[in-house]
C-alpha cells in the first residue's frame, strides 16, 4: 500500500465563486469561479486589460468585488474572506496570505534596510528576539541570493531584480499558505527575469507553495503553473492543466495567444 505523507485533501485551499467587479459601465472581471488545491500553482494569463489584476486584487482583499465569494480554508472549514471583519482580514494578510506586487517598491519599505524588510512580518506576528529575527532574515536573504553584506542596506541601493527577490523573501519568511503574485517578473530585463523564474521555481518546489500568479508572459506559467486560466475581456475563456492548455488550446483566443499572434 502506498502511504502519502499528506493525503489528498477533500476541500480546496481557496474557492472563488462568481467573482465580478465592474468599474462603472466597464467590466473589470466577470463571473470568475475556480478552486485552488493545496500545493497548487494557478496561472492567470491574458492580454493587457483582460482583468487579471482586478481579479487578483479582489481575491486578495485589496479591492471589493460587486458580487461573489472568496472562500479560504481556515482551520478545516471554508470561510468567505469577503465577510471577515477588517482586523481578521488584515491579520490574514500578514499571516496566511502574501502578496508580491509587480513593482517591488509597492511591496517594500524603501526607507528600511533589507533585513528590516524581511523581519517586519516576523515582528508583526510577535517576534521579539532581535538575534532570532536577524538570523531568520539572513537565512531568507541567502535563499533569494542576496549577499549577507547587503543586509543592512536599503532597497533603494538595489537593482530591480534584487528588489524583487527581496520582496519575495519578505513575503515568504512567515511561511504563508497562499501567495498572490501580480506580474512578478514584469518590468525586469530578460536575463534578470530568467534568474528570478529559476529562483521562484526552486522555492515553489521546495516549500510546496500554493500560489496564484498573474502574468502576460506564457513562459512564466509554463515554468511555474500547474494549471492555467485564460482571461479575455474580464471573463475566463479557458482553463485546464498548463501543458494541455498551452499545447492543445481549445478556445480561439487561447490559440492566438499561444501562437504569439497576439502581442500580449
Amino acid at each position: 500500500m502506498n502511504m502519502h505523507a499528506t493525503p489528498t485533501p477533500d476541500t480546496p485551499l481557496l474557492s472563488v465563486r462568481g467573482l465580478t467587479r465592474t468599474y462603472g459601465a466597464r467590466i473589470g472581471c466577470a463571473d470568475v469561479s475556480f478552486d485552488l488545491w493545496p500545493g497548487e500553482v494557478m496561472g492567470i494569463v491574458g492580454e493587457s486589460g483582460s482583468g487579471k489584476s482586478t481579479l487578483l486584487s479582489c481575491m486578495a482583499g485589496h479591492l471589493v468585488p460587486d458580487t461573489g465569494e472568496v472562500l479560504f480554508d481556515m482551520g478545516g472549514t471554508l470561510r468567505d474572506t469577503l465577510t471577515l471583519s477588517e482586523p481578521d482580514r488584515r491579520r490574514l494578510g500578514r499571516t496566511d496570505w502574501a502578496f508580491v506586487h509587480q513593482h517591488a517598491r509597492d511591496g517594500l519599505r524603501m526607507g528600511v534596510s533589507a533585513g528590516g524588510n524581511v523581519g517586519e512580518r516576523l515582528m508583526a506576528v510577535g517576534a521579539r528576539h532581535y538575534g532570532d529575527i536577524r538570523a531568520r532574515a539572513a537565512d531568507w536573504l541567502d535563499r533569494v541570493e542576496i549577499a549577507a553584506d547587503r543586509m543592512d542596506d536599503r532597497p533603494t541601493a538595489f537593482s530591480g531584480g534584487m528588489q524583487q527577490r527581496l520582496q519575495i523573501a519578505r513575503n515568504l519568511v512567515t511561511g504563508p499558505r497562499l501567495v498572490f503574485m501580480d506580474e512578478p517578473t514584469g518590468g525586469l530585463d530578460v536575463s534578470v527575469q530568467a534568474r528570478l523564474l529559476d529562483l521562484l521555481r526552486g522555492l515553489v518546489r521546495e516549500m510546496g507553495l500554493s500560489a496564484i500568479i498573474v502574468t502576460h508572459d506564457l513562459a512564466v506559467v509554463r515554468l511555474l503553473a500547474d494549471r492555467l486560466m485564460v482571461m479575455k475581456d474580464g471573463r475566463v475563456v479557458e482553463q485546464g492543466l498548463t501543458d494541455q492548455v498551452l499545447d492543445d488550446p481549445q478556445h480561439g483566443y487561447t490559440q492566438l495567444l499561444v501562437s504569439s499572434v497576439l502581442q500580449v
Binding site: E86, R109, V112, S113, A124, I133, M151, D152
Partner: protein, 285 residues
C-alpha cells in the same frame, strides 16, 4: 487681567478641551483629536500644553513651568508669566509645592504625588509617523493594535548602531494596549511615566490630546535580547553630587572646560540647600 477670561481661553473652548482630556484619561495612551485654538504665542512654544493647562487650572492652583528641566529659560518664564497674568495663580519652582506642572522635555526628578498634574508640550504625537506617514493608516494600526512597525524602528536602530540608539521620545506601550510617544523626554525619564500624578499631553499644531491616569502601567518597547536601558551619563552632578539624576553637559569657560550638572534645577538647588556637594563646590570650598 480683567481683559481676559480666567486662564485666557473662553469657557466654551475650555469645556471642549476638558471633554477631550476626560476621554483621553478614559482611554490611556489614545490620541484624542481636539479643535486647537490660536494662542498668543508661536506653535513651537507648546500651544498644545498651554491649552491643556488653561483648561486644567483652577484659581487655587500653584503652577510650575519647566523647559529642559529648568524653570528659568525663556520658554518657561514666558509661559509662567502668561498664566500669572491671565489666571492670577500662585507660581513656584519647587516641584513638591506645585499642583500643576507644565513641562517641555523632562519629568521632574522629585517623585510626583497623587493630586499633582503634569502637562507635557508635545510636538509630534504619532509614534508611527516616521515609518508610516499616512494618517488614515496609522489610525487603523492603532485601532487594530498592529504595532509590528514600532519594532522595525528599533530593529533598524540596532542594525545600524549595535544598540537601540533612540534616546528621546522613546516609544512606550500603555496598559498593554496603545503605543504612545512620551514627547521628547530622555529615555532616562521613561520609568517615571509610571506615576502617581495625572499626566496630560497636548499637541497644538497636530490637535491631539492624550493622557496617563495615575498608576498607569507604562512599558518601554524593547527586544528580549536588547532590553530597555534608561541609561544616564556616568558622572555625579558637579554641583550637588547627585548620581540618580539626569545630567546636562555644560561648557563652563572659553577653554572648553566641561561639567555635568543636574538638568532639573529645582532638584539640584534642593540638594545643595540640604548640604550635598559636588566636585565643583568641594573644589571651591
Amino acid at each position: 487681567m480683567t481683559d481676559y477670561n480666567f486662564a485666557y481661553l473662553d469657557e466654551q473652548t475650555k469645556r471642549m478641551i476638558r471633554r477631550a482630556i476626560l476621554k483621553a484619561l478614559a482611554i490611556p495612551g489614545y490620541q484624542v483629536p481636539f479643535a486647537s485654538r490660536e494662542m498668543p504665542m508661536p506653535y513651537g512654544w507648546g500651544t498644545g500644553g498651554v491649552q491643556v493647562m488653561a483648561a486644567t487650572l483652577v484659581p487655587e492652583d500653584t503652577l510650575k513651568v519647566i523647559d529642559q528641566g529648568a524653570d528659568d529659560t525663556t520658554n518657561a518664564v514666558s509661559i509662567r508669566s502668561f498664566f500669572e497674568r491671565t489666571a492670577g495663580v500662585a507660581v513656584t519652582e519647587a516641584t513638591a509645592e506645585a499642583t500643576v506642572i507644565q513641562t517641555r522635555h523632562r519629568i521632574p526628578e522629585t517623585p510626583l504625588t497623587e493630586g499633582q498634574i503634569l502637562v507635557y508640550q508635545v510636538p509630534i504625537p504619532e509614534p508611527l509617523r516616521f515609518l508610516e506617514p499616512r494618517e488614515t493608516e496609522t489610525r487603523k494600526m492603532h485601532a487594530l493594535e498592529e504595532y509590528g512597525l514600532m519594532h522595525v524602528k528599533l530593529y533598524e536602530d540596532i542594525a545600524r548602531h549595535g544598540t537601540i540608539a533612540t534616546a528621546y521620545a522613546y516609544p512606550v506601550k500603555v496598559e498593554g494596549r496603545y503605543v504612545m510617544d512620551p514627547s521628547p523626554i530622555p529615555k532616562f525619564d521613561n520609568p517615571k511615566l509610571d506615576s502617581a500624578a495625572i499626566q496630560l499631553f497636548g499637541a497644538g499644531r497636530e490637535q491631539r490630546i492624550y493622557a496617563l491616569p495615575p498608576h498607569t502601567r507604562v512599558v518601554s518597547l524593547d527586544f528580549e535580547d536588547h532590553p530597555f536601558d534608561p541609561s544616564r551619563a556616568d558622572h555625579p552632578c558637579a554641583l550637588c553630587g547627585a548620581t540618580d539624576s539626569y545630567l546636562d553637559e555644560v561648557i563652563t569657560d572659553d577653554a572648553g572646560t566641561r561639567m555635568f550638572l543636574c538638568s532639573d534645577t529645582d532638584y539640584c538647588a534642593g540638594r545643595q540647600a540640604a548640604g550635598h556637594m559636588g566636585a565643583a563646590q568641594a573644589g571651591a570650598a
